[in-house]
Protein backbone atom coordinates (compact mmCIF):
# COMPACT_ATOMS: atom_id res chain seq x y z
CA UNK A 1 0.00 0.00 0.00
CA UNK A 2 2.83 2.37 0.80
CA UNK A 3 4.37 3.36 -2.51
CA UNK A 4 6.30 5.94 -4.45
CA UNK A 5 3.93 8.82 -3.76
CA UNK A 6 4.14 8.42 0.01
CA UNK A 7 7.91 8.83 -0.11
CA UNK A 8 7.51 11.90 -2.31
CA UNK A 9 4.93 13.33 0.11
CA UNK A 10 7.27 12.77 3.06
CA UNK A 11 10.04 14.56 1.16
CA UNK A 12 7.73 17.46 0.29
CA UNK A 13 6.73 17.86 3.95
CA UNK A 14 10.36 17.79 5.09
CA UNK A 15 11.16 20.40 2.42
CA UNK A 16 8.35 22.61 3.73
CA UNK A 17 9.59 22.29 7.31
CA UNK A 18 13.14 23.16 6.26
CA UNK A 19 11.92 26.20 4.34
CA UNK A 20 9.89 27.32 7.38
CA UNK A 21 12.99 27.07 9.53
CA UNK A 22 15.04 29.14 7.11
CA UNK A 23 12.45 31.90 6.98
CA UNK A 24 11.65 32.31 10.67
CA UNK A 25 14.80 31.41 12.62
CA UNK A 26 17.48 34.01 13.19
CA UNK A 27 20.45 31.93 14.35
CA UNK A 28 22.94 31.33 11.53
CA UNK A 29 23.69 27.77 12.72
CA UNK A 30 19.96 26.99 12.79
CA UNK A 31 19.70 28.19 9.20
CA UNK A 32 22.48 25.76 8.18
CA UNK A 33 20.57 22.97 9.96
CA UNK A 34 17.42 23.82 7.99
CA UNK A 35 19.39 23.76 4.72
CA UNK A 36 20.59 20.28 5.66
CA UNK A 37 16.97 19.22 6.19
CA UNK A 38 16.08 20.42 2.67
CA UNK A 39 19.03 18.52 1.18
CA UNK A 40 17.86 15.40 3.02
CA UNK A 41 14.39 15.80 1.52
CA UNK A 42 16.01 15.89 -1.93
CA UNK A 43 17.96 12.73 -1.09
CA UNK A 44 14.78 10.88 -0.11
CA UNK A 45 13.33 11.81 -3.51
CA UNK A 46 16.43 10.59 -5.32
CA UNK A 47 16.51 7.24 -3.53
CA UNK A 48 12.74 6.74 -4.03
CA UNK A 49 13.08 7.50 -7.75
CA UNK A 50 15.95 5.03 -7.92
CA UNK A 51 13.75 2.31 -6.50
CA UNK A 52 10.38 2.98 -8.14
CA UNK A 53 11.13 4.70 -11.48
CA UNK A 54 14.64 3.65 -12.48
CA UNK A 55 14.04 0.07 -11.36
CA UNK A 56 17.04 -0.09 -9.04
CA UNK A 57 19.69 0.96 -11.56
CA UNK A 58 21.66 2.61 -8.76
CA UNK A 59 21.86 6.04 -10.45
CA UNK A 60 19.60 7.71 -7.89
CA UNK A 61 21.61 6.35 -4.98
CA UNK A 62 24.83 7.51 -6.63
CA UNK A 63 23.40 10.99 -7.05
CA UNK A 64 22.27 10.99 -3.41
CA UNK A 65 25.85 10.19 -2.41
CA UNK A 66 27.12 13.18 -4.39
CA UNK A 67 24.51 15.39 -2.71
CA UNK A 68 25.77 14.17 0.70
CA UNK A 69 29.37 15.01 -0.28
CA UNK A 70 28.44 18.51 -1.42
CA UNK A 71 26.35 19.04 1.74
CA UNK A 72 29.31 18.08 3.93
CA UNK A 73 31.55 20.54 2.07
CA UNK A 74 28.86 23.22 2.39
CA UNK A 75 28.56 22.73 6.16
CA UNK A 76 32.34 22.93 6.64
CA UNK A 77 32.72 26.16 4.67
CA UNK A 78 29.51 27.68 6.02
CA UNK A 79 30.50 27.10 9.64
CA UNK A 80 33.97 28.55 9.00
CA UNK A 81 32.31 31.66 7.57
CA UNK A 82 29.92 31.90 10.54
CA UNK A 83 32.80 31.58 13.03
CA UNK A 84 34.69 34.29 11.17
CA UNK A 85 31.73 36.68 11.18
CA UNK A 86 31.21 35.88 14.87
CA UNK A 87 34.74 37.14 15.58
CA UNK A 88 33.86 40.39 13.85
CA UNK A 89 30.35 40.94 15.24
CA UNK A 90 30.28 38.90 18.51
CA UNK A 91 26.91 37.52 17.45
CA UNK A 92 25.55 34.53 15.54
CA UNK A 93 22.30 36.30 14.68
CA UNK A 94 21.79 36.80 10.96
CA UNK A 95 20.12 40.18 11.61
CA UNK A 96 23.53 41.45 12.74
CA UNK A 97 25.29 40.21 9.60
CA UNK A 98 24.91 43.39 7.58
CA UNK A 99 28.57 44.08 6.83
CA UNK A 100 28.02 43.85 3.07
CA UNK A 101 25.40 46.64 3.28
CA UNK A 102 26.23 50.32 3.40
Amino acid sequence: MIGFQHYLLLAALLFGIGLLGIVFKRNAVALLMSVELILNAVNINLVAINKYVLGGSGLGQLFALFVIVVAAAEVAVGLALIINIYRLKKSSDVDDFNILKW
Binding site: M1, F4, H6, Y7, L8, L9, L10, A12, L13, L14, F15, G16, G18, L19, L20, V23, F24, K25, R26, N27, V29, A30, M33, E36, L37, N40, N43, I44, V47, A48, N50, K51, Y52, V53, G55, G56, G58, L59, Q61, L62, A64, L65, I68, V69, V70, A72, A73, E74, V75, A76, V77, L79, A80, L81, I82, I83, Y86, R87, S92, D95
Partner: protein
Protein backbone atom coordinates in the same frame (compact mmCIF):
# COMPACT_ATOMS: atom_id res chain seq x y z
CA UNK B 1 -15.08 -1.32 4.88
CA UNK B 2 -12.94 -0.83 7.94
CA UNK B 3 -11.97 -4.48 7.92
CA UNK B 4 -10.93 -4.32 4.25
CA UNK B 5 -8.68 -1.36 4.93
CA UNK B 6 -7.18 -3.12 7.91
CA UNK B 7 -6.63 -6.28 5.88
CA UNK B 8 -4.70 -4.38 3.21
CA UNK B 9 -2.30 -2.84 5.75
CA UNK B 10 0.93 -4.79 5.89
CA UNK B 11 3.61 -4.66 8.57
CA UNK B 12 5.76 -2.64 6.12
CA UNK B 13 3.13 0.10 5.98
CA UNK B 14 3.03 0.36 9.76
CA UNK B 15 6.83 0.56 9.91
CA UNK B 16 6.93 3.23 7.22
CA UNK B 17 4.23 5.35 8.87
CA UNK B 18 5.98 5.06 12.23
CA UNK B 19 9.38 6.06 10.83
CA UNK B 20 7.96 8.87 8.69
CA UNK B 21 5.92 10.25 11.58
CA UNK B 22 8.93 10.13 13.88
CA UNK B 23 11.07 11.93 11.27
CA UNK B 24 8.49 14.65 10.69
CA UNK B 25 7.96 15.16 14.44
CA UNK B 26 11.70 15.50 15.03
CA UNK B 27 12.02 17.91 12.10
CA UNK B 28 9.22 20.08 13.51
CA UNK B 29 10.80 19.95 16.97
CA UNK B 30 14.13 21.01 15.46
CA UNK B 31 12.47 24.04 13.92
CA UNK B 32 10.36 25.02 16.92
CA UNK B 33 12.70 24.66 19.93
CA UNK B 34 14.02 27.91 21.37
CA UNK B 35 17.17 26.31 22.78
CA UNK B 36 19.56 25.39 19.99
CA UNK B 37 21.04 22.47 21.93
CA UNK B 38 17.58 20.85 22.07
CA UNK B 39 17.20 21.71 18.41
CA UNK B 40 20.39 19.84 17.60
CA UNK B 41 19.34 16.72 19.52
CA UNK B 42 16.06 16.74 17.56
CA UNK B 43 18.10 17.16 14.36
CA UNK B 44 20.20 14.06 15.12
CA UNK B 45 17.04 11.98 15.70
CA UNK B 46 15.55 13.41 12.50
CA UNK B 47 18.63 12.31 10.52
CA UNK B 48 18.43 8.85 12.10
CA UNK B 49 14.76 8.68 11.06
CA UNK B 50 15.71 9.60 7.50
CA UNK B 51 18.29 6.79 7.56
CA UNK B 52 15.40 4.50 8.57
CA UNK B 53 13.43 5.74 5.55
CA UNK B 54 16.37 4.75 3.34
CA UNK B 55 16.42 1.31 4.95
CA UNK B 56 12.75 0.82 4.05
CA UNK B 57 13.69 1.50 0.42
CA UNK B 58 16.38 -1.24 0.36
CA UNK B 59 19.05 1.48 0.18
CA UNK B 60 21.17 0.12 3.02
CA UNK B 61 24.40 1.73 1.86
CA UNK B 62 22.91 5.23 1.65
CA UNK B 63 21.33 4.63 5.06
CA UNK B 64 24.67 3.78 6.62
CA UNK B 65 26.31 6.79 4.94
CA UNK B 66 23.46 8.93 6.26
CA UNK B 67 24.07 7.71 9.82
CA UNK B 68 27.83 8.18 9.60
CA UNK B 69 27.95 11.51 7.73
CA UNK B 70 24.80 13.27 8.90
CA UNK B 71 23.95 11.83 12.31
CA UNK B 72 27.67 11.50 13.09
CA UNK B 73 30.00 13.96 11.42
CA UNK B 74 27.82 16.90 10.42
CA UNK B 75 25.96 16.92 13.75
CA UNK B 76 29.25 16.89 15.68
CA UNK B 77 30.63 19.74 13.57
CA UNK B 78 27.47 21.78 14.10
CA UNK B 79 27.47 21.14 17.86
CA UNK B 80 31.18 22.00 18.17
CA UNK B 81 30.72 25.16 16.16
CA UNK B 82 27.84 26.19 18.32
CA UNK B 83 29.78 25.53 21.50
CA UNK B 84 32.33 28.04 20.17
CA UNK B 85 29.63 30.59 19.38
CA UNK B 86 27.47 29.98 22.49
CA UNK B 87 26.14 33.16 23.98
CA UNK B 88 25.45 33.52 27.69
CA UNK B 89 21.83 32.45 27.57
CA UNK B 90 21.32 29.11 25.75
CA UNK B 91 17.59 29.10 26.46
CA UNK B 92 17.11 31.94 23.98
CA UNK B 93 19.89 30.95 21.61
CA UNK B 94 17.62 29.86 18.76
CA UNK B 95 15.01 32.59 18.79
CA UNK B 96 12.37 33.30 16.18
CA UNK B 97 12.53 36.27 13.93
CA UNK B 98 11.43 39.37 15.89
CA UNK B 99 9.31 40.54 12.98
CA UNK B 100 5.79 39.09 13.06
CA UNK B 101 5.48 39.52 9.28
CA UNK B 102 8.46 37.28 8.69
CA UNK B 103 6.95 34.44 10.73
CA UNK B 104 3.61 34.79 8.94
CA UNK B 105 5.32 34.91 5.57
CA UNK B 106 7.30 31.80 6.48
CA UNK B 107 4.17 29.80 7.36
CA UNK B 108 2.44 31.13 4.26
CA UNK B 109 5.26 30.43 1.81
CA UNK B 110 6.27 27.02 3.11
CA UNK B 111 2.64 25.95 3.57
CA UNK B 112 1.75 26.94 0.02
CA UNK B 113 4.85 25.27 -1.44
CA UNK B 114 4.28 22.04 0.52
CA UNK B 115 0.58 22.02 -0.43
CA UNK B 116 1.37 22.60 -4.11
CA UNK B 117 4.02 19.87 -4.12
CA UNK B 118 1.65 17.50 -2.32
CA UNK B 119 -1.19 18.19 -4.75
CA UNK B 120 1.13 17.70 -7.73
CA UNK B 121 2.43 14.43 -6.29
CA UNK B 122 -1.08 13.07 -5.63
CA UNK B 123 -2.49 14.23 -8.97
CA UNK B 124 0.35 12.88 -11.11
CA UNK B 125 0.38 9.36 -12.52
CA UNK B 126 3.99 8.26 -12.17
CA UNK B 127 5.32 5.71 -14.67
CA UNK B 128 6.31 3.12 -12.10
CA UNK B 129 8.53 0.56 -13.76
CA UNK B 130 9.29 -2.86 -12.36
CA UNK B 131 10.67 -2.93 -8.87
CA UNK B 132 14.29 -4.07 -8.51
CA UNK B 133 14.75 -7.68 -7.54
CA UNK B 134 15.98 -8.05 -4.00
CA UNK B 135 18.70 -10.48 -5.11
CA UNK B 136 20.87 -7.75 -6.63
CA UNK B 137 23.43 -6.32 -4.24
CA UNK B 138 22.79 -2.56 -4.32
CA UNK B 139 26.25 -1.73 -3.03
CA UNK B 140 27.86 -3.64 -5.89
CA UNK B 141 25.74 -1.69 -8.37
CA UNK B 142 26.76 1.65 -6.82
CA UNK B 143 30.43 0.66 -6.74
CA UNK B 144 30.31 -0.35 -10.41
CA UNK B 145 28.76 2.99 -11.36
CA UNK B 146 31.02 5.05 -9.12
CA UNK B 147 34.30 3.56 -10.32
CA UNK B 148 33.03 2.91 -13.88
CA UNK B 149 31.04 5.42 -15.91
CA UNK B 150 30.95 8.03 -13.15
CA UNK B 151 34.59 7.97 -12.08
CA UNK B 152 35.22 11.60 -13.12
CA UNK B 153 32.38 13.03 -10.97
CA UNK B 154 33.67 10.80 -8.18
CA UNK B 155 37.17 12.28 -8.41
CA UNK B 156 35.73 15.77 -8.77
CA UNK B 157 33.77 15.21 -5.54
CA UNK B 158 37.00 14.12 -3.83
CA UNK B 159 38.77 17.30 -4.99
CA UNK B 160 35.77 19.37 -3.89
CA UNK B 161 35.97 17.89 -0.39
CA UNK B 162 39.72 18.56 -0.21
CA UNK B 163 39.29 22.15 -1.36
CA UNK B 164 36.40 22.67 1.08
CA UNK B 165 38.39 21.33 4.04
CA UNK B 166 41.46 23.46 3.23
CA UNK B 167 39.25 26.51 2.65
CA UNK B 168 37.39 25.94 5.92
CA UNK B 169 40.67 25.68 7.87
CA UNK B 170 42.02 28.86 6.26
CA UNK B 171 38.76 30.74 6.86
CA UNK B 172 38.37 29.64 10.47
CA UNK B 173 42.02 30.37 11.31
CA UNK B 174 41.49 34.03 10.55
CA UNK B 175 44.02 36.71 9.62
CA UNK B 176 47.19 37.10 11.64
CA UNK B 177 47.15 40.51 13.27
CA UNK B 178 50.88 41.42 13.34
CA UNK B 179 51.76 41.53 9.68
Amino acid sequence: MMREILASVSIFDIVFVAIAGFTLLCALAMILFNNIVHSMVAMIFCFLGIAGVYFTMDAGFIGMVQIMVYAGAISVILIFAFMVLMSRDPARSNRYSPRKGSILAGFFASGIIAAMLGYAIIATEFPVSGLPDAEVNQMEVIADLMLGSYVIPFEAAAILLLVAVIGAILLAKGVEKDR
